[in-house]
């Protein structure tokens, strides 16, 4: 199906473990984004990518790593998960301008 998908939808992990959240879009959008949503903070940008092999930090990048070897995929890795990274993570994509389209989100719990 066309659109933007995220996997897994729910994930429970332990402190110190590595976790990778996947994001896939079928529109060939050039831009892709990772956000986290926390109560009182709204949507905060973690990392974004303007094209394959081009990534840049957002507002809260510490503790996260991204890569973009293919236009359609933008995985987000927590190299050593911490409790403060418990959150809902949203991936999004868009063309150069205009509206962004969001995935359904991944709820991550770090114990």
């Amino acid at each position: 199906d066309a659109g933007i998908t995220q996997s897994p939808r729910y994930k429970i992990t332990e402190t110190g473990r590595q976790v990778t959240l996947m994001c896939h879009q079928t529109w060939s959008h050039s831009y892709m984004f990772w956000y986290r949503q926390d109560l009182g903070h709204g949507l905060r940008l973690i990392y974004y990518s303007a094209a394959a092999d081009i990534t840049d930090k957002g507002e809260v990048p510490d503790g996260y790593v991204v890569s973009r070897s293919k236009t359609e995929n933008f995985p987000l890795t927590l190299e050593s998960a911490t409790r403060s990274q418990t959150s809902v993570y949203f991936c999004a994509s868009r063309w150069t301008g205009g509206e962004q389209f969001f995935g359904p989100g991944t709820r991550l719990t770090v114990l």
Binding site: Y35, H41, L43, G98, F102, G103, P104
Partner: protein, 111 residues
């Protein structure tokens, strides 16, 4: 530095009445503004947008007003319906750069 602010975390409105959600911004370079709607366990979805060259944009029950001198935008929903109950995020962008989101306002429509 919160460039986009939604100062009301929540708003409760009676069904059939007008809902007014407010958003303030500080960056005068922003030239495009968007509103997103978010239901629980789903990603945000685009609702309506406005360019800085306009002061009003209307789409059915939804109207966005932009006051550039006051750096303020508002979303009017009339008449409000139970299905409008959701979290609403305003966002702003300059050119092809990153969207900056507000903290969100939870709108509850009461029967």
């Amino acid at each position: 530095d919160q460039q986009v602010k939604q100062n009301s975390p929540s708003l409760s409105v009676q069904e059939g009445r007008i809902s007014i959600l407010n958003c303030d911004y500080t960056n005068s370079m922003f030239d495009y503004f968007l509103w997103y709607k978010k239901y629980p366990a789903e990603g945000p979805t685009f609702l309506i947008s406005i360019s800085s060259i306009k002061d009003k944009n209307e789409d059915g029950r939804f109207t966005v007003f932009l006051n550039k001198s006051a750096k303020h935008l508002s979303l009017h929903i009339v008449p409000s319906q139970p299905g409008d109950s959701a979290v609403y995020f305003c966002a702003a962008v300059h050119g092809a750069q990153k969207l900056v989101f507000g903290q969100g306002t939870r709108l509850t429509i009461n029967p």
